[in-house]
């Protein structure tokens, strides 16, 4: 990671393109709102908004972990599988009581994350390969554990976790927002958060400054595993069951959300507020397209096109490039 200083330009004035580029997600966000509220009358009802938040909160929780990882320049393809693993584990261990089951499955998710992190830092294997492997392997474990069938919880109390709400806000949304705020605070105000930016922004500089690079990366992989596990538990609670196919495509959606939010794939740039934008845009597209009665492949098409255009914008208007 070479420093880009040689080609850096002085930028003191407010640059409209730069502003647009950095906040492109909010532009898309507003466009989505305007579009869907014109197209479908139900879109902007309070319940539907709550709904979008609720539906987005699972992807959202995972995207917190992914944002951390991507800021330090890594990423994780195995989050969907980890989510499924912890969902089936929490149901499977329900007999030991809800707290034990939740704790165990959080632990399992974090452990897979830690394993990923160790392979990336200590073994020095590229994150793409490491998490590609665990994406398949963990999914295999899920199938083996469940014997292919869905597991159903006997505890009705468990399903109340995600059905509960504080005031008008459903608990999963609350958890998501609290974690988001905490996550953003940690990113901004702790040495771990700032360390992530330093590692992703200029790896050499981070090493030279005595930052314990490996430690931060492993923490982020654990965090990714933890958030995936948390999303899995809430999802299992929402369905009071867990199927082995859960979250098959979720790693893709989570990466899309984070990239939409403007977090750079090479790291060093991004924050959770904008990731929230990415998550909500995807939530709106999925929800709005449902309301519009459009076939699901249109979702895919739109998501793919938005992704490519965001990368294009990123490249075109990168303030730090020549």
């Amino acid at each position: 990671m070479k420093s880009k200083t040689g080609i850096m330009k002085v930028k003191d004035n407010f640059d409209i393109w730069d502003f647009v580029q950095k906040n492109s997600i909010w532009l898309i966000f507003v466009i989505c709102i305007v579009f869907f509220s014109i197209m479908t009358p139900n879109f902007l009802r309070v319940r539907n908004i709550t709904n979008i938040f609720l539906q987005s909160s699972f992807i959202g929780i995972m995207s917190i972990g992914m944002t951390y990882l991507m800021i330090d320049g890594n990423f994780d393809l195995s989050m969907g599988s980890i989510m499924a693993l912890s969902a089936v584990l929490v149901i499977g261990f329900m007999d030991y009581g809800i707290p034990v089951a939740v704790l165990l499955s959080l632990l399992a998710g974090s452990a897979i994350g830690a394993l990923n992190g160790l392979f990336v830092t200590k073994a020095g294997i590229n994150a793409f390969i490491v998490t590609l492997g665990s994406m398949l392997g963990v999914r295999g474990l899920v199938y083996i554990y469940t014997g292919e069938r869905a597991l159903v919880s006997s505890e009705l109390a468990f399903s109340e976790i995600s059905a509960a709400s504080v005031g008008p806000i459903p608990l999963p949304v609350l958890i998501f927002l609290i974690m988001l705020i905490l996550g953003e605070l940690v990113l901004r105000y702790t040495s771990h958060g700032r360390g992530c930016y330093a590692i992703g922004g200029n790896y050499e500089a981070a090493v030279n400054a005595g930052i314990k690079v490996d430690k931060h990366i492993i923490i982020n992989f654990i965090l990714a595993g933890f958030t995936a596990a948390l999303a899995g538990i809430l999802m299992a609670s929402r369905m009071n069951a867990a199927t082995p196919t859960l979250g098959m495509e979720d790693h893709m959606i989570v990466i899309t959300a984070v990239v939409l939010g403007g977090t750079k794939l090479d790291g060093g740039f991004g924050n959770l507020i904008r990731t929230l934008g990415g998550v909500l845009v995807i939530g709106m597209i999925r929800n709005g397209m449902n309301l519009l009665n459009v076939h699901s492949y249109v979702n895919m098409l739109i998501m793919g096109l938005i992704l490519i255009s965001v990368v294009y914008m990123d490249q075109k208007f990168d303030p730090l490039e020549e």
Binding site: T5, Y189, S191, R194, Y197, G201, A205, A209, P319, L320
Partner: protein
């Protein structure tokens, strides 16, 4: 401590790498409150000396005395903790983070809850920036700052704790004059505060502006310790690049009347900020030397002629036909070869074999329907391995396992086998042992004798004078002089490349 006391003394430092003696019994000392310039051309050993100081390399011989005690730092972090700060040419900053964060990177102040104490961080940063009289805020993003300001951030980072010595490694390489001025003011301020400054540069005017004393290195040896006030640029330059004419460099040169037909003609070539309105031509069988110090725009000019850079304006003609500027692929087809300055980054595919690298340019003509003619390739390989005496266990050896000299020969061979009309050599002998160096010099003359037009870029005076039929001097992106071999003297050239009386000594 007394005012004139030596805070740092490096005694008899020798550092050998396999095959190369990078430093040979170098003595270097810095006093409190002085700016001590360390000068020398690329490869003279300045960076190695500083790496020995900071503990990246441990010296093969010699010792370092710091504050009266013998020390050996464990690395830059250790050195910094003990008050010796190195500020590298390549800034070690995170663009996406604020000034304050970069200053305290790796050691951000925290409050009692474990959160970063932003207030304290910004306050302390502000104090440091004020001490350096910087006009920007600690909350600005580093990526948004100009290079000079970024450099100030690096300096401020060095001052986060008590600092005794600050080493600046070519700090002005990418600064504008205005920014340079700010930097110098800050250096003066540090000096007044009693800090010792080591200032590494090859820009002579700066050195005279800022330094108190000068240590000159050449080929890993110390060639002089001067008081700035008592010397001049000419003396300094000759200490830096002047060498005794080595025996083998006594070649027969072509005179003014013997030049052949024109091969390359450059007309009004300009690129903003790099070089301006360059015009010259090279002829068949002629060795044209291009002499200038690092940063004069020589390499950039060569890269533009070869086509890996685009120009703003100007034309290039090869044998009378205009060629498109900025198309290296075409240049190779037309018979232009280019041996770049940075072997490992620009010259070689390190992970591939010697054979692959050697034939990389030739294979475009060495194939039938795209298939490489393996036997002919082998023959060419053997031919050039033989001719240039490339020492490698086998043609399949990865080129990264070869010594620097042999690597350079592989690159030379890569271009020679396309039978070039024009061969551009950018610092062909930097970092290469003496024996190989002589071989390369002889080779250059041989090529010219065979009718190839050769452009040699070098900052080594004897090299340029020894091999060239004609020499151009370059300073600040402009050509400042032209001399035929018989009329070139070291003094004239030094005037040209240091910009003294620029234009006044133009000949022909």
């Amino acid at each position: 401590m007394k005012e004139n006391e030596c805070i740092l003394e490096m005694r008899n430092i020798t550092k050998t790498f396999p095959g190369v003696k990078a430093l040979d019994k170098v003595n270097f000392e810095v006093k409190k409150g002085e700016v001590h310039a360390l000068v020398g051309e690329n490869g003279a050993g300045k960076s190695t000396l500083m790496k020995v100081l900071s503990g990246i390399h441990s010296p093969s011989e010699g010792e370092i005395i710091y504050q009266g005690k013998k020390v050996e730092f464990a690395g830059p972090l250790d050195a910094k903790a003990k008050g010796v700060v190195l500020i590298h040419q390549e800034l070690s900053l995170v663009d996406e983070m604020t000034v304050a964060e970069n200053i305290f990177l790796g050691d951000l102040p925290r409050n009692k809850f474990g959160f970063i104490d932003w207030k304290g961080l910004n306050k302390r940063s502000k104090e440091l920036l004020e001490r350096l009289e910087c006009e920007f805020e600690p909350t600005e993003l580093v990526g948004r700052l100009s290079i000079a300001r970024q450099q100030m951030v690096e300096i401020a980072r060095g001052l986060t704790q008590d600092v005794n010595i600050v080493v600046f490694d070519e700090p002005t390489a990418s600064l504008t004059q205005e920014e340079e001025k700010v930097l110098f003011e800050n250096i003066n301020r540090l000096r007044e505060q009693g800090t010792a400054i080591v200032y590494i540069s090859h820009r002579l005017n700066e050195i005279f502006q800022i330094s108190d004393r000068i240590t000159v290195l050449r080929d890993g040896e110390m060639t002089g310790l001067l008081n700035t006030a008592e010397t001049n640029e000419c003396e300094l330059t000759s200490l830096m690049i002047g060498r005794d004419l080595e025996d083998h460099l006594d070649f027969e040169k072509r005179g003014r009347d013997e030049i052949g037909k024109e091969v390359l003609k450059v007309e009004g070539l300009s690129k903003d900020g790099l070089f301006n309105d360059i015009s010259f031509s090279i002829h068949e069988g002629e060795v044209l030397g291009l002499s200038g110090l690092v940063g004069a725009g020589r390499s950039e000019l060569a890269e533009t002629i070869f086509g890996v850079r685009k120009a703003d304006s100007g034309k290039i003609f090869l044998e009378g036909d205009e060629i498109k500027v900025g198309d290296a692929n075409k240049s190779v087809d037309l018979g232009i070869g280019f041996v770049p300055e940075n072997r490992k980054e620009q010259g070689l595919i390190l992970g591939r074999s010697v054979l692959d690298n050697l034939s990389l340019a030739k294979i475009r003509n060495l194939n039938r329907y795209g298939f490489i003619k393996g036997r002919e390739e082998k023959l060419i390989y053997q031919d050039y391995q033989d001719k240039l005496d490339i020492k490698t266990p086998s043609s399949k050896q990865q080129v990264k396992n070869l010594s620097g000299g042999n690597q350079q020969k592989v690159i030379m061979a890569k271009w020679l086998c396309i039978n070039p009309k024009l061969l551009i050599l950018d610092e062909p002998t930097v970092g290469i042992d003496v024996g190989t160096k002589a071989e390369i010099h002889k080779l250059i003359r041989k090529l010219a004798a065979a009718g190839i037009a050769v452009l040699v870029i070098s900052s080594e005076m004897p090299e340029v004078m020894g091999v060239s039929d004609r020499i151009l001097t370059m300073y600040h992106g402009e050509i400042t002089g032209e001399f035929y071999a018989e009329e070139a003297t070291e003094e004239k050239l030094i005037k040209g490349i240091t910009g003294i009386e620029a234009g006044a000594c133009k000949v022909g």
